[in-house]
């Protein structure tokens, strides 16, 4: 059991925002190779807007996360805007009321977030997208039992493995799919940023 409240959410989002900011050039470089060289700046723009939200102004964590999702939808654009936006909207919608929260409840919420991404983007594992990093993360979280801290750590490890596994893949979704065989040998930018998200969660939500 850990606590769920806007302050905790704020710590998580702020950590992710700073990770994205620090890694923006790297994410854009990954996107340069098999995309259009904007994933880092897109997400950075969005997370700076999220970071500017006032945690104290939200009634609860759900409202905060929904607003974060809407903010991403409204500021990011591209493929990652609706996907990341939907993710936070769904996580916010699936969380229990503020207070104590169990690992399984975090698991439910992240599963809902993942489902939102899949519903919007229709990608499957193996398509070389963020889904490749998020799906194993959620599964590992689920499989890790009741210790929230251990579950986040397992999720982060699984996410990183999923991200690394995108390297040899030929993309079937997103911009990288236009490259056909030439997309193989490059790490997916979205899978890379999702791993930053899970690692942030592991640092702040455990």
């Amino acid at each position: 059991m850990t606590a769920l409240n806007p302050d905790v959410i704020h710590t998580w989002l702020a950590d992710f925002a700073s990770q994205v900011h620090e890694n923006a050039a790297w994410l854009t470089d990954l996107d340069r190779a098999i995309g259009d060289a904007d994933h880092g700046s897109n997400l950075d723009r969005g997370m700076r807007a999220v970071d500017a939200l006032d945690a104290a102004s939200f009634a609860d964590s759900a409202a905060y996360l929904k607003k974060a999702g809407m903010t991403l939808v409204s500021t990011v654009g591209g493929a990652s805007g609706p996907l990341y936006g939907t993710f936070f909207l769904r996580v916010g919608g699936a969380l229990p009321p503020d207070g104590e929260i169990r690992a399984s409840q975090w698991g439910d919420a992240f599963e809902a977030g993942l489902a939102g991404i899949v519903q919007r983007g229709r990608a499957e594992v193996g398509d070389k997208t963020m889904v490749d990093a998020l799906t194993p993360a959620v599964a590992a979280f689920r499989g890790a039992g009741d210790d929230v801290k251990a579950a986040w750590a397992a999720a982060a490890t699984a996410s990183a493995a999923g991200r690394d596994a995108t390297v040899p893949l030929v993309a079937r979704k997103g911009r990288a799919s236009y490259l056909g065989e030439r997309s193989a040998g490059h790490q997916d930018p979205g899978a890379s940023s999702v791993t930053l998200l899970i690692e942030s969660a592991a640092r702040t939500l455990g």
Binding site: R32, I34, V73, G77, G78, R172, R175, L179
Partner: protein, 333 residues
């Protein structure tokens, strides 16, 4: 990176300001919602036409707002699709009671953002919204399991033709059917001699040796399907036209042909390309009824060219010839 800009953050807004100052007789810019609107507000009873996409493709789309073409355009950041808020605001602003048609290029980001906007607009405002997705790029293998073909040059032709039909007063369903028909019988393919530099990225999206080109590129500075040795215009024209002809049966023409520049290729070369495209089509017994040669859908300062062919008929040619009065395309008015 060398560009005539003030700072990378404000490239899009600064450019919109110039567009409005230069063409204030045709368009107004709503800076808060970041949309380019046809001067004079919505036309009662006319279907509103909206398109949008990442910036960096100028004159598309903002340059195609005006009589006989778009009612509004939503410019995103450079090479980044706009956000649903822009599209929703634009949709509401241009509804004249006859509904609004979204013309969407087939990119995951564009499609998802437009989808969200349509859902929100329907829920919030009751405006009737339909969408048509343009996917004309034969460089990309189409398949149920992929993101599908990109929307590229044909978008310009669809905006012109459907814009003329909307101006005539055709209704939303008719326009949807028309847009789909045009999308079904047009194809494009492009190539690049150089990459381009996204301002926020600060360096070229890809590196090409002095004797290399990318064939099968899109319009976002993405690398193409294949890297090849540079070749004479004649051969480049073949690399672009033959895949188009292999993909769709133009059955002897007539066609509307566009030889488009990617932004950094001068007209001198585009006319050379056009002559070669003309020669190839001639050999195939296909007549070019109308043409566009110039920079219409670009990738920043990329050097290169794309070819778009659309099978035409009398209705399409009549719509093509109808007056158009926009910053980027103008005739008969």
């Amino acid at each position: 990176m060398k560009k005539l800009i003030n700072d990378v953050e404000n490239v899009v807004i600064d450019s919109l300001r110039g567009l409005e100052l230069a063409h204030g007789d045709l368009v107004t810019v709503d800076y808060e919602n970041r949309i380019v609107l046809r001067k004079g507000g919505p036309r009662a009873g006319k279907v509103g036409l909206l398109s949008g996409g990442g910036s960096g493709h100028e004159p598309m789309h903002g340059g195609f707002v005006g009589l006989g073409m778009l009612d509004a355009a939503c410019p995103g950041e450079v090479f980044t699709s706009p956000v649903p808020d822009q599209m929703m605001a634009a949709t509401k602003a241009i509804d004249g009671g006859a509904g609004v048609l979204h013309i969407v290029k087939n990119y995951t980001g564009d499609v998802m953002n437009f989808e969200m906007a349509a859902e929100m607009a329907a829920a919030e405002s009751g405006v009737q919204v339909e969408s048509v997705v343009v996917d004309d790029d034969v460089a990309v293998q189409d398949s149920l399991y992929t993101a599908g073909r990109r929307g590229v040059g044909l978008t310009v032709l669809i905006e012109k033709i459907v814009g003329a039909a909307a101006e005539e007063g055709r209704d939303l369903d008719t326009l949807v059917a028309l847009a789909k028909r045009v999308n079904g019988q047009g194809r494009s393919m492009g190539m690049a001699l150089t990459s381009c530099t996204v301002p926020a990225a600060g360096k070229p999206t890809f590196d090409l040796a002095d004797d290399e080109m990318e064939v099968g590129i899109g319009i976002h500075g993405e690398p193409g399907r294949e890297r090849r040795k540079v070749a004479p215009a004649k051969e480049v024209a073949e690399m672009l036209v033959e895949p188009i002809l292999n993909d769709f049966d133009f059955g002897g023409g007539p066609v509307i042909a566009m030889v488009n520049g990617m932004g950094g290729t001068p007209l001198l070369e585009l006319f050379i390309m056009y002559a070669e495209v003309h020669k190839i089509l001639d050999k195939h017994g296909i007549t070019i009824a109308r043409n566009l040669v110039g920079n219409y859908i670009t990738s920043l300062e990329m050097a290169g060219s794309s070819v778009t062919l659309l099978r035409a008929d009398d209705d399409l040619l009549k719509l093509w010839d109808a007056p158009v009065l926009t910053p980027g395309l103008r005739w008969g008015a």
